[in-house]
């Protein structure tokens, strides 16, 4: 592992390189707190929870995350929540805040086009959420991808959003200048490992930044109490709310975890690939629609730009939107540990509430998902209290295959939010095998689903409603698949 002598962190904020000494920077200090220490008060704290977007900043990763490492290409900035991420985890990164984006224009006093559009369209009222909106818009403006969804992760309590939407429409008509790609001013991330093992006080809440898989696994063996930290969109709450008094091994800079590949036969997703990257790949290939659809419902932009599939499998929330999709698609989870790799079927991965097959010294190397065989149809569904950026009441993914005689020969019904773990309704699946696709499949599975799945009541929804959704979402799937299921018979 690489340890620096001066125990410092390099990060570029608004084109200015900062070396933050460990004496002034807590290892688990969030980027938001660091910005405020630096006198950059423009980035606001609205919730400290990663849910309101007031703290949004633009982040350019230090190393290859996507296939655009060509230095002739413009820099690619992604909107992230600065309240969730420890500054040290962004070693070597470049960050732009609301104070920094007007500096990018030729005239120093001029506002950035997104700032000007927000003024022209009265996109701010109290103004407290505005810097976050500006930064979300900034990222998508330069990526030529502006839409309402650019700000799906930004809450505004004043405007009702119509004026912000006007600003978006106005900006869509403009031709953005690329953001110049500067040399890697943040320094070599490989040399910025934040650790001083001789300093026992500091190591109590250290953050390790290994740059290879073997280094990560070795660190975990020597520091068994340290937690894996991937995108940190769940674990990050600890940094934001409690100061995060544990040690973490951040997985940002490990090339082995960044593999993202779509072949003729399968999809391979590295454990630390941000979900936004996965979504972009699948959308560009119109492939794996159940994953694409669920990813659109998966939290919001700022979270997807950091959250990873490994983190999703690591926290193993019983709701975990993507997890029922992995179950329904028979994903293979490849774990890496000190003794090598092993592959676990998604169906065998979830053991009990937030307990998984992944041992403490292992991590999720990647997830492999084979393409569905011909004749198989699949889709995912999610119902939350709010249609966007919400935690599921029930999420689900279904896959049905029929044979040449139009009999069901493959069935997967997977749910989140209905049990202590993401779960497959195996009894219901078995009952469907061999049944003619033109039979009333819902009638067959309904009593089984209701007797085998007993969801709980909580503040999101009661058990009765969840039960109804368990059945009705499969009903919805069947209605949507009607043409496919009846196609063989009706020609």
């Amino acid at each position: 592992m690489n340890l620096t002598a001066n125990n410092s962190l390099k990060i570029t904020i608004n084109q200015q390189s900062h070396v933050l000494q460990s004496s002034t920077l807590g290892y688990n200090e969030t980027l938001l707190k660091t910005l405020h220490k630096l006198g950059l008060q423009g980035t606001k704290e609205g919730c400290g929870d990663g849910d309101c977007g007031a703290c949004t900043v633009a982040w350019c990763a230090p190393q290859k995350t996507y296939a655009d490492d060509d230095h002739t290409l413009p820099a690619r900035y992604l909107a992230i929540n600065s309240c969730l991420v420890p500054t040290a985890q962004l070693a070597g990164s470049r960050v732009l805040t609301v104070e920094g984006i007007s500096q990018l224009s030729a005239e120093p006093a001029a506002l950035h086009p997104v700032q000007q559009a927000m003024i022209d369209c009265a996109g701010s009222q109290c103004g407290y959420c505005t810097p976050g909106f500006v930064m979300s818009l900034f990222c998508d403006y330069h990526a030529n991808s502006l839409s309402d969804l650019s700000v799906e992760g930004n809450l505004c309590r004043c405007t009702g959003y119509t004026s912000i939407r006007q600003a978006i429409e106005k900006l869509k008509l403009q031709q953005p200048n690329p953001i110049p790609r500067h040399p890697r001013a943040g320094g070599d991330p490989g040399k910025v490992s934040i650790l001083n093992q001789t300093d026992s006080e500091a190591s109590a809440n250290s953050l390790f930044l290994p740059t290879s898989l073997s280094e990560a696994l070795t660190l975990k063996q020597t520091n068994p109490d340290a937690l894996w930290l991937a995108g940190g969109t769940d674990l990050g709450l600890a940094f934001s709310q409690c100061g995060g008094a544990t040690r973490h091994i951040a997985l940002d800079q490990i090339p082995e975890l960044q593999r993202l590949e779509l072949t003729e036969r399968a999809l391979h997703i590295g454990g630390a690939v941000p979900l936004a990257g996965l979504l972009a790949l699948l959308e560009s290939h119109s492939s794996f629609e159940p994953i694409t659809r669920m990813l659109h419902w998966f939290a919001a932009r700022q979270v997807r730009n950091r959250a990873t599939i490994g983190g999703n499998l690591g926290t193993a929330s019983p709701i975990g939107d993507l997890l029922p999709v992995l179950l329904a698609l028979d994903a293979q989870i490849v774990l890496a540990g000190p003794t090598g790799e092993r592959t676990v079927n998604a169906a065998d991965y979830f053991l009990s509430y937030r307990t998984t097959e992944c041992k403490p010294d292992e991590l999720v190397l990647r997830v492999d998902i084979a393409k569905p065989k011909p004749g198989c149809n699949s889709q995912s569904y999610k119902v939350g209290k709010r249609g966007s950026d919400d935690i599921s009441i029930v999420s689900s993914c279904f896959q049905l295959g029929v044979d040449a005689n139009n009999r069901v020969d493959f069935a997967r019904l997977a749910y989140g939010g209905v049990a202590a773990v993401p779960i497959r309704a195996i009894a219901a699946e078995n009952a469907l095998i061999g049944v003619s696709a033109t039979d009333d499949l819902l009638d067959i599975v309904k009593p089984i689903l209701l007797s085998t799945l007993q969801p709980l009541s909580d503040f999101r929804a009661n058990a009765a409603y969840r039960q109804q959704l368990i059945v009705n979402l499969f009903d919805k799937f069947l209605r949507e698949q009607q043409a496919n299921l009846h196609g063989e018979v009706h020609g």
Binding site: G39, M118, P131, D148, R157, C158, T159, G160, Q468
Partner: protein, 853 residues
């Protein structure tokens, strides 16, 4: 031509340079506050041990009730609200003590070291529980007009019902924040995110045992207020000031979102029961209703909130005879407080449920029932005795309300869209589990504080020798554009460009004894005060100009374009006039004052003319509901709202759209959930969902009523802050319309709802197409309705005994009822898809059978 100036802080907003109390950089040595919170909703507080916390690193003070030198109370009306508890815990998470330490982390650590001894007591956590135990604040309020009982008795039709609504969190993006310091003379300076700096000043002084002149309070701007910083900021300011006095250090408190949501008050939950008599034409004859608001543990502003609800149960409808009672349930929850609309939304909710009930009962279009009951000539006296004026009911013309209604009906294509919605619903097929609904609702809202003495305002305008101007007024800026409007008022009166004018932070040092920036009255009141001050100064400058230009009284002067122009063609630049006035030793500062004329309110009879005028608007909303999941989507909104002659159309449209979205949240998705221990379960945006851009339809048409000058107001404008929130009732009614279509099959209009809106996926419908009965590919609405079971559920955690859940069978009989029915949800739209619509109608809607249908 749009005369709108951009928000005066717009550039600061978009660049991040606009400062708020929350992110105001604290000077070195500033201490941070952190609370110690109660694990019980109701308890005897036996002892507090703070010794370990006091010894913790960085800690300078641990504040408990014993540290308060003045009065331990923050109640704005009634002194019933301790700042720090002495022997009684009144709600879950109530702050028992506050740690003042050098960093927030140190304060947080030390808070964990405070130990307490408590004896838990039974907690009252719902209106029902309060009723059962007789736990109320203050007196029952009565508001009567005529003989309602007799009017109902004489009515052809009588229905009864109940409407409930839950709390709403303000969710201002900037949480509560205060910064306090003490200067060498013992003067207390507080910077506070407050809508009411004067009251903050008074409460700080009360707690510290000081006179008002020993405390100064400044508000820079707020990152949202919505009523949540009208009284709620006061306690935190007092705590910061108390800690500053105790330690000699500057002290800052900025609440974590979780603490903000757990400690501060919300919009009141209400339960409203009614008996309504009406004619076969749908004309309302008499209303008896009981309104009970959940006030929480202390009174705060609940009495006037309840009264505003009671005087708004008419909305835009003439009520010939009324008998209302109003009560404030005393519960072990946060103390419910002001929230945009201030009881008005709950009153209007009842009004809209009433007319909807009539329409469904008579099987007539709800829009027709609404228009039929509007105030009109000969039916122009409200139930509290205020007569509508010639502005509301102009001679020989449609009423202001009818003009809006008819214009929106036309502009929004109501008639063709109603047909299209019906066609859509009839064309349901098995793949499509959705139905649409369309509804148009009116808003009439009284403008002025009910309490007459609050309707006053002051301003202080300073002209400097170079011709630049500072405005001070008593109003606070929370995003509503008040400062921008005030600058416009000053610019118009002085005849100068807005760039020469700065609006200063609101400070009790500039204008004393101000009222809260609330009740939508900020621009109305302060605008008149600013205008008065500027007119005084303009008069002095005109006198000086006459001297400079040698003009006598026969020459008229007017100020415009940065100059003073004489009717003889000569003129003097404004800056030159100012300099001349300075040299001539003329006073270039002036105060202005305004008191709204003609208001009256009798607090014994609850009658009078409390409102200077009424604000009007209407909205038309279309929704689509998924019968399988209960999810719904707002497809289109059309709004026509009356803001008089707008001072700033862009700002006013922003207020209308923002208020609508907030009302939409209240009525459809924002749900404050308390568990059976009285602990708040929704204390973060991960669990408390306010609307995002995705909930706002792309087709959103907002229009301001033209030719709408309001006599007697600041430049003919009208208040805008609160009234448009209630335009969102159109969404709730559209959802009901869509749900009715599920139950309907081809012919019936039915289904109800009983309680308040909850968005329908809290209730469930099973509208599965029965494949066995026919070709799966064809539409068959009749089988849809006939095969469906009627099932409706509340979304209640079963762990909460006070949050029951009930399910109704398709004969309308209640199958199961655990404890009491939900008190709290904003919703609970019951999807009833009955075999016999009439049975359901009777059972669910609780219709009396006194008179046959």
């Amino acid at each position: 031509m749009d005369k709108s100036s951009p928000h005066e802080s717009a550039r600061g907003h978009v660049t991040g340079s606009a400062r708020y109390c929350h992110d105001l950089p604290a000077p070195a040595g500033t201490l941070m506050l952190y609370p110690v919170m109660s694990p019980h909703a109701h308890a005897e507080l036996l002892s507090i041990d703070t010794d370990a916390a006091r010894m913790a690193p960085g800690v300078h003070a641990v504040l408990t009730a014993a540290d308060i030198p003045g009065e331990n109370d923050t109640g704005p009306i009634v002194h019933d609200e301790v700042l720090l508890p002495t022997n009684r815990i009144s709600f879950h998470s109530q702050a028992i003590a506050w740690i003042a330490a050098e960093t927030e982390a140190q304060a947080q650590f030390a808070a964990g070291l405070v130990t307490t001894k408590m004896q838990a007591l039974p907690a009252i956590l719902s209106i029902e529980a309060a009723e059962a135990t007789g736990s109320f604040h203050g007196q029952t309020q009565i508001l009567n007009k005529g003989d309602a009982a007799a009017a109902i008795d004489a009515s052809t039709h009588v229905v009864q019902g109940e409407v409930r609504c839950g709390e709403q969190d303000h969710f201002y993006l900037e949480t509560q924040a205060s910064f306090a310091s003490v200067d060498g003379d013992g003067h207390i300076n507080v910077v506070c995110s407050t809508q009411h700096p004067s009251e903050t000043q008074h409460i700080v002084a009360r707690v510290l045992g000081l006179k008002y002149h020993q405390v100064s309070v400044t508000c820079l701007r707020m990152g949202g207020g919505f009523g949540g910083k009208e009284t709620q900021a006061n306690g935190f300011a007092a705590l910061a000031a108390l800690a500053a006095v105790k330690t000699g250090r500057a002290v800052k408190v900025k609440l974590k979102r979780e603490h903000d949501m757990k400690l501060t008050g919300k919009r009141h939950a209400f339960r409203m029961r009614y008996t309504l008599g009406f004619s076969t034409d749908g004309l309302i004859a008499g209303l008896q209703a009981e309104l009970i608001a959940d006030a929480g543990w202390s009174m705060d502003l609940s009495p006037p909130v309840l009264m505003r609800a009671m005087v708004h149960v008419d909305n835009a409808y003439y009520l010939p005879a009324v008998a209302l009672t109003g009560k404030l349930a005393r519960t072990n929850k946060t103390s419910a407080t002001a929230f945009r609309g201030f009881g008005g939304p709950q009153g209007l909710l009842l009004a809209e449920e009433l007319v909807d009930h009539v329409a469904r009962y008579l099987d007539m279009p709800a829009e027709q029932i609404r228009a039929r009951n509007f105030y009109r000539k000969g039916a122009e006296i409200t139930h509290y005795g205020q007569a509508l004026t010639a502005t509301d009911l102009p001679v020989g013309e449609p009423s202001r309300m009818s003009r809006i209604w008819n214009t929106l009906h036309q502009q929004g294509d109501y008639a063709p869209r109603k047909i299209a919605v019906q066609q859509f619903n009839q064309n349901a097929n098995s793949a499509n589990s959705k139905k649409r609904g369309l509804a148009m609702t009116p808003v009439k809202f009284g403008i002025s504080f009910n309490k007459v003495q609050y309707n006053q305002a002051g301003a202080l305008v300073l002209i400097y020798a170079d011709g630049s101007v500072q405005i001070n007024h008593g109003g606070t800026e929370m995003g509503q554009g008040l400062h921008t409007k005030m600058r416009t008022v000053a610019a118009r009166v002085l005849g100068i460009s807005e760039r020469h004018i700065r609006v200063m932070n609101t400070s009790t040092e500039k204008v004393p004894n101000t009222s809260a920036t609330a009740a939508s009255s900020g621009a109305d009141l302060n605008g008149q005060a600013v205008k008065a001050a500027c007119e005084t100064l303009r008069e002095r400058l005109h006198e000086q100009t006459r001297l400079q230009l040698g003009l006598d009284e026969s020459v008229d002067l007017h100020s415009a374009d940065d100059a003073i122009h004489a009717s003889n063609g000569t003129s003097l630049r404004f800056a030159d006039a100012v300099l001349a006035a300075y040299n001539a030793r003329i006073n270039l500062s002036a105060s202005g004052f305004y008191a709204t004329p003609g208001l009256s309110w009798n607090m014994q009879s609850n009658t009078g003319s409390p409102f200077f005028y009424f604000s009007y608007g209407a909205a038309l909303s279309e929704v689509e509901v998924d019968g399988l999941t209960g999810e719904w989507k707002l497809l289109r909104v059309d709004i026509l709202h009356d803001v008089g002659d707008s001072l700033n159309p862009q700002i006013d449209k922003g207020q209308i759209e923002g208020a609508f979205a907030q009302g939409l949240g209240w009525l459809t998705m924002e749900e404050v959930v308390w568990d059976s221990d009285g602990k708040l379960r929704t204390f973060a945006p991960s669990t408390y969902k306010i609307p995002t851009i995705c909930e706002i339809p792309k087709e959103f048409n907002t229009h301001l009523l033209s030719s709408a000058t309001q006599p007697g107001t600041i430049f003919g404008s009208k208040a805008v802050g609160e009234p448009p929130l209630m335009l969102a009732l159109s969404v709730r009614m559209a959802i009901k319309d869509a749900i009715a279509a599920f139950a309907d099959g081809a012919t019936h209009r039915t289904t109800e709802i009983g309680t308040v809106s909850r968005h329908p996926h809290e209730s469930c419908t099973t509208s599965r197409h029965p494949r066995e009965s026919g070709d799966p590919g064809t539409s068959n609405p009749e089988t849809l309705s006939s095969s469906n079971l009627c099932l409706s559920t509340n979304n209640e955690p079963e762990s909460s005994p006070h949050l029951g859940s009930r399910i109704r069978g398709n004969d309308g009989r209640e199958i199961r009822e655990n404890g009491e029915i939900s008190h709290r949800t904003n919703a609970e739209l019951r999807l009833a898809c009955p075999a016999t619509p009439e049975a359901i109608l009777r059972a669910v809607m609780n219709i009396t059978t006194k008179v046959s249908v």
